[in-house]
């Protein structure tokens, strides 16, 4: 071994080539809170990577503010070693990170360094592609309409707020309403999906323990093999919080541009905006509403605009984005929530009241919407769940009316019972996503009144038995829905027959 090291050193010394060249340099004038003020470097570019020669090591810095006689830089590493007077060099490179299939199943920081203790991501033989963290979004000609579903495995979402591949669907709600749980279910549900998308989970400012738990859950559910976790934990500097979503997008773009489908979850963009506000204030940029800088809208719009369904000429890949926003006391009219709502193609609104009433996932159907997902929904689901939203709205109206009425006729009672059954059907525990074909079967029975004879509280068991009945005895029907993705008259007849048999037996 020692001989090997000696040989390696000897080779390095022998192969050394002197290449004297003038370097562009500047000097650190001020250093504090992860921000540097640098004099000189008059030719530096925006978002260019700089290198500070501190006493102990070379520290990377990102040029963010280009002023008349100074440059404002964001330290990407340990800033405590940097002192005023240290030399800063240009690298003439934009911030990028290595991307490749080797990232699958790994946990990395926003600069591409492994955080999971599994060793280096790329071997010496690998020649990874380097993707810029800041990249242009595909133009109009490069895109096509969203036309393929991204099944979430959550009945309420797939039926009423369908998400398509290439869409940007916001998950919004107060803390503790199940936003991350929905995102995890989406990742887990991709396991059995056709053309399985690569999932990228970006954790911004989350506790290390929470990230560890998420990674463990994904591992246990067999979802880590096709997932990449980008983590900028609570203890990491604001620079990492700011860069993490862009790193996630850069990784997603690698798969998108290869013609594959990718899904990126930004958990969450509220913290991302806080980090950007902190950096901007430290850089002395002018504060605007709620002290956010003027370009906080552009920050999120340029990030989310990178999600796209590419045209067939460009490989037909897609990048779907599920950004998460945390609201305060359900206020969706705050600055960042309204910004992201207006950027995305719809939102899934999770409500605290529903959550505490036991409706989980706590999706508020009235406030949730998907603007483009409808065209990506399968015909089978469209046929079955087309009237679900209306049925639920009518049920809620009746339920409100019931509070004042003492005597209710049988028809109304039956309608309320059906509404309660549907509400129960839409409840779903964590980490148990259901494939779309099974969702279709359950919703078909519930919406066509086949479950009306049961009590709402029985529905959990009945649903499980019903799905088991189909899977064990009539798998051909389940497979047919999965492959054809639509229900024709013949298939509908078959489903009806099986439901009747099931109802007779229960």
């Amino acid at each position: 071994m020692s001989q090997e090291i000696l040989e390696k050193l000897k080779k390095s010394i022998q192969d050394y080539k002197e290449n004297p060249e003038w370097e562009e340099v500047g000097k650190v004038v001020e250093s504090g809170d992860g921000i540097l003020k640098i004099s000189g470097l008059s030719k530096v570019g925006m978002m260019e990577l700089l290198s500070v020669e501190s006493e102990k090591e070379q520290v990377k810095v990102l040029a963010l503010n280009l002023e008349e006689d100074s440059v404002g830089g964001l330290v990407l590493g340990e800033s405590s070693h940097i002192k005023a007077g240290n030399t800063v060099k240009r690298t003439k490179q934009l911030l990028s990170l290595p991307v490749g299939d080797q990232l699958l199943g790994r946990v990395i920081d926003p600069l591409g360094n492994a955080l999971d203790g599994k060793g280096p991501i790329f071997s010496a033989k690998d020649k990874p592609q380097y993707n810029f963290l800041e990249n242009d979004a595909p133009n109009v000609l490069a895109r096509e309409g969203v036309n393929y579903p991204m099944h979430t495995g959550i009945k309420a979402i797939d039926a009423m707020i369908p998400v398509g591949r290439g869409q940007r669907e916001l998950i919004i709600g107060d803390r503790g309403t199940g936003k991350t749980a929905v995102a995890l279910d989406v990742i887990i549900n991709q396991k059995e999906e056709e053309n399985r998308p690569i999932c990228i989970y970006v954790a911004v400012g989350q506790k290390e323990s929470k990230v560890a738990k998420i990674v463990q859950t994904l591992k246990e559910q067999g979802a880590l093999d096709y997932t990449i976790v980008v983590s900028a934990s609570a203890s990491s500097p604001a620079a990492y919080w700011y860069l993490a979503p862009f790193a996630g997008a850069a990784i997603g773009e690698y798969f998108r541009d290869k013609g594959k489908d990718a899904l990126v979850i930004y958990d969450d963009l509220s913290k991302h905006a806080w980090a950007y506000r902190q950096i901007s204030l430290l850089l002395r940029r002018a504060p605007g509403r709620e002290a956010y800088p003027g370009d906080v809208f552009y920050l999120h719009s340029r990030l989310l605009e990178r999600s796209a369904k590419l045209s067939k000429e460009l490989g037909g890949g897609s990048l779907t984005a599920l950004p998460i926003i945390e609201t305060q006391l359900g206020d969706v009219t705050a600055y960042i929530p309204t910004n992201v709502i207006s950027i995305t193609d719809g939102q899934i609104y999770l409500e605290s009241d529903l959550f505490y009433q036991g409706t989980r996932p706590a999706v508020n159907v009235g406030l949730s919407v998907s603007r483009v997902g409808g065209s990506a929904q399968t015909k089978a689901m469209k046929k079955v769940a087309g009237k679900l939203r209306l049925e639920l709205a009518q049920f809620r109206e009746l339920q409100t009316f019931m509070q004042f009425a003492s005597d209710v006729d049988e028809v109304t009672k039956a309608r309320i019972n059906k509404g309660r059954i549907i509400t129960e059907i839409l409840k779903q525990p964590d980490l148990q996503p259901i494939s779309f074909e099974k969702q279709v079967l359950v919703l078909y029975a519930a919406l066509n009144g086949h479950f009306n004879k049961f009590q709402p509280k029985e529905m959990k068991q009945i649903e499980a038995k019903y799905l088991e009945y189909f899977s064990d005895l009539h798998k051909d029907i389940v497979d047919e829905i999965k492959s054809k993705r639509q229900i024709d008259e013949k298939l509908e007849e078959k489903i009806k027959e099986v439901i009747e048999k099931f109802l007779a037996a229960n």
Partner: protein
């Protein structure tokens, strides 16, 4: 009103380039001003920057030779060959460089020919 180092230095460089007053009068005036503004501790920074600005105005350069040990007369002569009359020449000793020389021009360009850089390049 508080002034920045750059403001003082620009004013000083302009007044020096005009050649209207004696150096003694200018330095006395500057000290009085800094005293009044409670900015005397910035005087070195102001003078360095003014010198730099003045050189730039006259198309001259500010050149710093950073070495591990003091330059010998012959070494200094060799290095000065590449400079022009009127350039501001500074010498700085930094033992961490081990050997060789680092030439910094106008605080913006650098030619690093030190052993420290070579070693770093070799092992990184």
């Amino acid at each position: 009103m508080k002034y920045k180092v750059k403001d003082y230095a620009t004013a000083l460089a302009e007044i020096l380039s005009e050649n209207k007053f004696s150096d003694k009068k200018i330095s006395q005036g500057l000290i009085k001003l800094l005293e009044r503004q409670n900015d005397l501790k910035k005087s070195k920074e102001i003078i360095d920057l003014a010198e730099f600005l003045l050189a730039k105005k006259n198309n001259k350069k500010s050149i710093t030779f950073e070495t591990a040990r003091e330059l010998s007369a012959s070494q200094r002569k060799t290095l000065l060959k590449s400079t022009e009359k009127g350039d501001i020449i500074k010498e700085k000793i930094n033992p961490e460089l081990i050997a060789g020389v680092k030439i910094i021009v106008d605080d913006e360009k650098q030619l690093d020919q030190t052993l420290l850089k070579k070693i770093n390049k070799l092992f990184n």
